[in-house]
């Protein structure tokens, strides 16, 4: 059976930290779907199309990585895509506690899906989408925090 993982997030924007997670876990799976979750009641900073395009260009040429967007529960999306694994990066202890609640409630609703966590390498561990948006909003240059070739200018 094909081993498929979903890497869900808002990726607002996709960072070097996110890129590294995908590259490090690719050898373990047959396919990783980077899946942009869209909540109609949330505001995003970068347009969905931009976010999608940035991820696509980051992995272009690698057929094992696909990019998608979805609404609804992550576990429902996983079922639809035949994915048995959710992958998440874990930077801080604050992250851990929220991720733990989500992972445990997901596990209780969908026992067939496992969430795997990976820690960022040190030099990427400070990269945070919230702070990147703040830098861009204030006219700063955040290009060093995102994959090569992404132009964050609005």
């Amino acid at each position: 059976m094909e081993k498929i993982a979903v890497f869900p997030g808002s990726f607002d924007p996709f960072t070097k930290g996110h890129e590294s997670i995908v590259r490090r876990l690719l050898p373990l799976f047959d396919k990783i779907i980077v899946a942009i979750g869209v909540n109609s009641h949330k505001q995003y900073f970068f347009p969905l199309e931009k976010r999608k395009q940035w991820i696509e260009q980051t992995f272009k040429g690698d057929v094992r990585v696909s990019v998608d967007n979805f609404t609804g529960l992550t576990i429902d999306y996983c079922h639809k895509m035949n994915a048995k694994y959710i992958i998440r990066g874990l930077r801080t202890t604050t992250d851990l506690e929220f991720e733990k609640a989500i992972a445990q409630m997901n596990k209780s609703m969908a026992d067939d899906i496992e969430t795997l966590f990976i820690l960022p390498t040190p030099e990427l561990s400070a990269i945070n989408s919230t702070i990147i948006r703040d830098i861009v909003r204030n006219g700063g240059d955040a290009s060093r925090f995102v994959p090569e070739g992404i132009n964050l200018k609005l």
Copy 2:
């Protein structure tokens, strides 16, 4: 003197975790008031009347538990109700830090009121109202996380 405790919260919605806290602490008090705090500048997901009714039906028949709503400071409400104890559940270290600031500032403003904390049992420790709202919003079934007989469908 009667031992009265206030269990304040937004209970949006009231979960099995909240229910368990009340049941476990009931033997210690003569009366526990489940008190829904209402802030006029906050948006709630479930209507106040629904939230109140769900708590009432959970404890109906037990005269030691009452349900109420209040505006203003929790310590002012406690004084009004003659309650010397505030009870709170503590799930995570992030909870702890915010609860600590609130409890210590409350203690400094109202030295006659103590805040007691209780930890959830393991199987309830992942239950989180924020995530329940997210499940309901996305059409998922969160009934396993709330007391028997509560219908979360909007």
Copy 3:
């Protein structure tokens, strides 16, 4: 039924923080037993008799507080003393995680016993028996951190 709480610890030494916990929770119980746990494979800094005597003199005249020592599991000791409550202070998030594991394993072995937590008041929240021992060991004066009248000099 009498409401009895056990406040277990090594109290090496008993601090102003411990004293405050007992005084703040006394109105809630008919009796609080300050119970010094003794593990034969652990080294203590202050002799058991000293530790016991310091606690006794702190609460002398108050018949609702008794001092005892015990070996074995805390829940077994509670059963023996007819205590339905364990009380614990909670200073830090590191404390929380260890206390949580212990409280949950205790609850799973002895469902009739509840553990209640209370947070120190701000001015007492930095007081830590480990650091007090370090101060004493290095010839410093730690008397401000322990109840009136306790002489920590070895």
Copy 4:
């Protein structure tokens, strides 16, 4: 070279905790600039002019403390003011993780600026601007948490 530090924040409102940080670090610097960051997309509770005036009156007569407001990135503001140091208070572990991400991203964009942290004294460690706003909003008296002479009434 003059040693200049920037103490950035929203100071909504300025608390006794903030005041203490400035006073404790003043001997280390030639000048501390208390700098109110203004984000056009954020709502503040107290008007900027009030917040500025409260800080000014707290340190009036001390020429080493100045008060200012700024928009844009903190590191850009530091460069403009010739400040090589950012100072921040650290209350909780949740604070630490966000401060760490910000400090590390700042360091990566402006290697010539260092962020220094100081911990509150125990009796001030529970003071939190968010909770103060909540107290004021609910008609409570929060004057004990702010410097002498500040009238928080709206």
Copy 5:
């Protein structure tokens, strides 16, 4: 290429929590090696032979799980066994910080090996080998915390 993971630990003793980690991750790997690390300068509570036998009997009949012991660095052991993955359970934020330092230093010494983390299911999240040893030492019954058929009596 065969996907091999090492699950290192002292397993003193192996718990239901450990068992669950192996079972949940087995579908992802061709082989999981439960590897008991032996440090000559550390004291263990249960004899190595017992610990090994308990793990073997837990997974007997499943050829994808093997049990081994090793001395030296975990990454050196992984290289020897051709394992590209280390798996670790993550219970608490305190765990996270130590695991993070180890995982990042391992990654810096052996870039070809990834550490994956998985969170316990709620009902297993309180299980802790340290506390189990404490229960056994005090004559308590900890059998509910270890896999079926393990007799912890010394």
Copy 6:
């Protein structure tokens, strides 16, 4: 008045993380004393003379950095050396909580001494003396984690 800081620790061994802290804070002080605390009841891994020599060679030629060792309380040592500042690195939230207790108890015993904290740069944030000792003990090569020219081989 000369601004003198003490950087206390066991430095067992001194790491690149420690080195970076000294270099980043040097511009703020006239003198930084790297002070090896010696507790007679503690075992160290590397001999005191080695640890001292490694720090000296790291900063040789820079007269603003001196190396010393001391017994007794850090605040007493600061008083003796006329140092008004203690500097400490802060890596994790677990660190924070212990450092907080120590800093607050120090402040309460010696109000004239301030403790300043600095966070490691990302690429150094995983470096941990405990883990380095473990690597050396197991025959690994930890030279990348210590300053240039230090030979950790025993």
